[in-house]
């Protein structure tokens, strides 16, 4: 048998090994991640160890963990943490419920589907900052449509209108409501996709087994939707912990600090007060909170899958 020469170098370059090809394909992604995520994070952690206040004349002063010490004695931090968690705890299930409702409704066999689909997608496509602006206008004491409708329905007093955005409880409620409206849309989208993946024959089997539509919902739809729900929840929770745009445009964190979230506090310290060191320490704390919450979720999910 004649020995056959192995392919030329050029030929071999055209057929890179899986590992080389993988490295080449993943390189741009990781370069970007390094530039826009990894390096900034490192920088952030580094900054959190310094006093970078402008009153220091712009000279960084290494102070170790002092910033963190300050964070934990800062009532604003605890207040913002409380608000952030409250918003998370309210809006995540809220958006899930509303989103599920919307998804179920949108999944009905309409003859003309596009108005429904468009209505489902519109809040998602609306920038968060717009949503905040618009809803702030809705909730305005005098010119807001919310009070106007309540008054027209006789549910509120015309002379003493509710000052939605000026009372801590109401303001937080209004912010949560806006977030739920805005985020339930993407929720619904994911759930709708999940709904459409449930095999029709499962419903038929359940129907033959004797399940009423209501029972089918609980016994087939909901359990089959679980993976989508989990994805949506994780996704939503992570973004809820980062809530910024809506309270920022609606209330500026007010009245007082009643609707200030962690992200807003970080923004205030870094951008408004230019206290980079302290702001960085706050940011690191938000990271840790995000990580803890995600880890708890993922463990929960892992347990469910097992």
């Amino acid at each position: 048998m004649t020995p056959v020469p192995r392919p030329s170098l050029l030929e071999r370059l055209r057929d890179p090994s899986e590992r080389l090809l993988g490295a080449l394909l993943l390189a741009p992604t990781f370069a970007l991640l390094a530039l826009i995520v990894a390096y900034p994070i490192g920088k952030l952690v580094w900054n959190s160890l310094f006093d970078l206040r402008l009153s220091g004349g712009g000279v960084p002063k290494f102070i170790g963990l002092e910033n963190y010490q300050l964070v934990f004695t800062d009532p604003d931090f605890w207040n913002a943490t409380k608000n952030t968690l409250l918003i998370t705890v309210v809006t995540v299930p809220g958006a899930l419920l509303v989103g599920l409702g919307l998804a179920l409704l949108a999944n009905l066999p309409f003859k003309r589907r596009w108005p429904v689909r468009l209505a489902l997608l519109l809040p998602w496509a609306l920038p968060l900052s717009f949503a905040g602006l618009i809803f702030a206008w809705f909730f305005h004491t005098e010119y807001g449509i919310v009070n106007d409708v309540l008054q027209r329905l006789g549910l509120a007093d015309r002379t003493d209108p509710t000052m939605w955005l000026l009372k801590p409880g109401w303001a937080l409620a209004a912010v949560c409501l806006t977030i739920i409206w805005k985020t339930s849309s993407f929720m619904a989208l994911i759930l709708l996709a999940g709904l459409q993946m449930i095999p029709k024959s499962l419903y038929e089997a359940a129907e033959v087994d004797g399940a009423t539509p209501w029972q089918q919902f609980w016994q087939v739809t909901l359990p089959m939707l679980m993976p989508s729900i989990v994805v949506a929840l994780i996704f939503r929770t992570i973004t809820a912990l980062q809530t910024f745009d809506i309270p920022y445009t609606m209330t500026r964190g007010g009245p007082g600090q009643a609707t200030q979230t962690l992200a807003m506090l970080i923004h205030a310290h870094t951008i408004d007060y230019l206290d980079m060191g302290y702001g960085s320490a706050l940011a690191v704390c938000l990271f840790v909170l995000s990580l803890v919450v995600s880890a708890v979720y993922l463990r929960q999910v892992g347990r469910q899958a097992a």
């Binding site: 095999p199 024959s201 499962l202 038929e204 089997a205 359940a206 129907e207 033959v208 087994d209 004797g210 399940a211 009423t212 029972q215 016994q219 087939v220 359990p223 089959m224 679980m226």
Partner: protein, 375 residues
């Protein structure tokens, strides 16, 4: 009494193209009926109409003497086994099987007993705590059947339950379903497009085509006296050879395969006489009735050339060109010859079938005994 009666069942999905054209069928109590037919002929639609998963446009469906066409599936007292099993992925096998009973508020002890019995019968007791994802195809199929059994319904409906299994498993499950039927004595309606399944399982077979029942009869009857060329060509493996033939004008009745004319034997003459003179004719003969040697004195002999040999082990399929026609013959495994070899095929005249090439209708010596064939 769990007989199923269909009267003039009509159905169309879009309100224009009918999918079922007025089906009449009667499935007796305890009978195993198989709906067979090519893809898209309406088998599933018919079965699902019986189950109540599709509403019918008109007609009547009676189960156990009770008209059910207006009832939802859960009130029809039927159980169904789906092609893709449709097991609830999030429930254990036990819960899958118990689901129907729980919905009916059956006492827990009774549920335990019935599921246990069914699991024993299907040999899946050791799997009861698993979820469907952890099962093989055959095991899933068993669970799907088990889920139907525990409900003890009046009628079992199966929609191509074996089509997702591989050949060996299919054969095994087929025997098992047959034995199950023997043991339970239940009324079963079973849809398949596999004619072997139909032949081996059925008490009676309904052959469907384009929303019509072509023939509804016992398997042997369907095999040996197909009411139409479609039935003949669909049933049997390999199926009946069908070849267009032309009448040869002349004194003695003769037929022509296209380049090869042969006198019509006496046994076939009455059938030929039944066909109008203008009808185009199609001849049918089963592969096992074509022999390489003359076996009886009145055999017809057709000269031809060998095209292809396909050894199956126990026997061999020989494709032989006769005139313009290609006929497949079952020949002994020992037969070997090169393609192109000239040979003769012998057939008993009584084994020949004659069909109307246009309508597919079978011409018999006696007036047709088959009310289902469409003209």
């Amino acid at each position: 009494m769990a007989e199923v009666l269909l009267r003039q069942v009509r159905k169309s999905y879009d309100g224009r193209t009918p999918v079922l054209h007025g089906i009449d069928l009667e499935v007796r109590h305890g009978e195993f009926t198989v709906f067979v037919g090519p893809s898209g002929c309406g088998k599933s639609t018919l079965l699902r109409s019986i189950a109540g998963l599709e509403t019918i446009d008109s007609g009547e469906i009676c189960i156990g003497g009770r008209p059910v066409q207006h009832l939802p599936p859960r009130l029809r007292d039927i159980a169904m086994v789906f092609q893709d099993y449709a097991l609830y992925p999030h429930k254990t096998l036990f819960e899958n099987m118990a689901f129907g009973l729980r919905l009916r508020k059956t006492p827990e002890a009774e549920i335990q007993r019935r599921v246990g019995e069914a699991a024993d019968l299907l040999k899946i007791t050791h799997l009861l705590q698993r979820k469907p994802a952890a099962l093989s195809g055959g095991q899933r199929q068993r669970v799907a059947i088990g889920r139907a059994i525990v409900r003890q319904p009046q009628v079992f409906l199966f929609d191509e339950p074996l089509s997702n299994l591989d050949a060996q498993l299919r054969q095994e499950m087929r025997s098992e379903i047959k034995r199950l039927h023997q043991r339970l004595g239940a009324t079963i309606i079973y849809v398949t497009h596999d004619q072997v399944e139909a032949m081996t399982l059925a008490d009676r077979i309904a052959v469907l085509r384009g929303g019509h029942v072509m023939q509804y009869d016992r398997p042997q009857q369907i095999y040996h006296q197909p009411a139409a060329d479609f039935v003949a060509g669909f049933i049997g493996s390999p199926p009946m050879n069908l070849a267009d033939v032309a009448r040869v004008p002349g004194a003695t009745p003769a037929l022509d395969f296209g380049g090869l004319a042969w006198p019509v034997p006496a046994a076939l003459q009455p059938a030929l006489a039944a066909a109008p003179a203008a009808a185009r004719l199609r001849l049918g003969v089963r592969p096992e009735h074509l022999h390489l040697q003359r076996s009886q004195a009145d055999d017809i002999a057709w000269p031809g050339t060998l095209q292809l040999l396909e050894p199956l082990g126990a026997e061999t399929l020989a494709t032989v060109r006769i005139g313009q026609a290609e006929l497949v013959a079952r020949v002994p495994a020992s037969f070997e010859a090169a393609p192109g070899t000239a040979l003769q095929l012998h057939v008993q005249p009584a084994q020949l079938h004659l069909f109307d090439a246009d309508s597919g209708h079978a011409w018999h010596a006696t007036p047709s005994s088959n009310p289902h064939a469409e003209s």
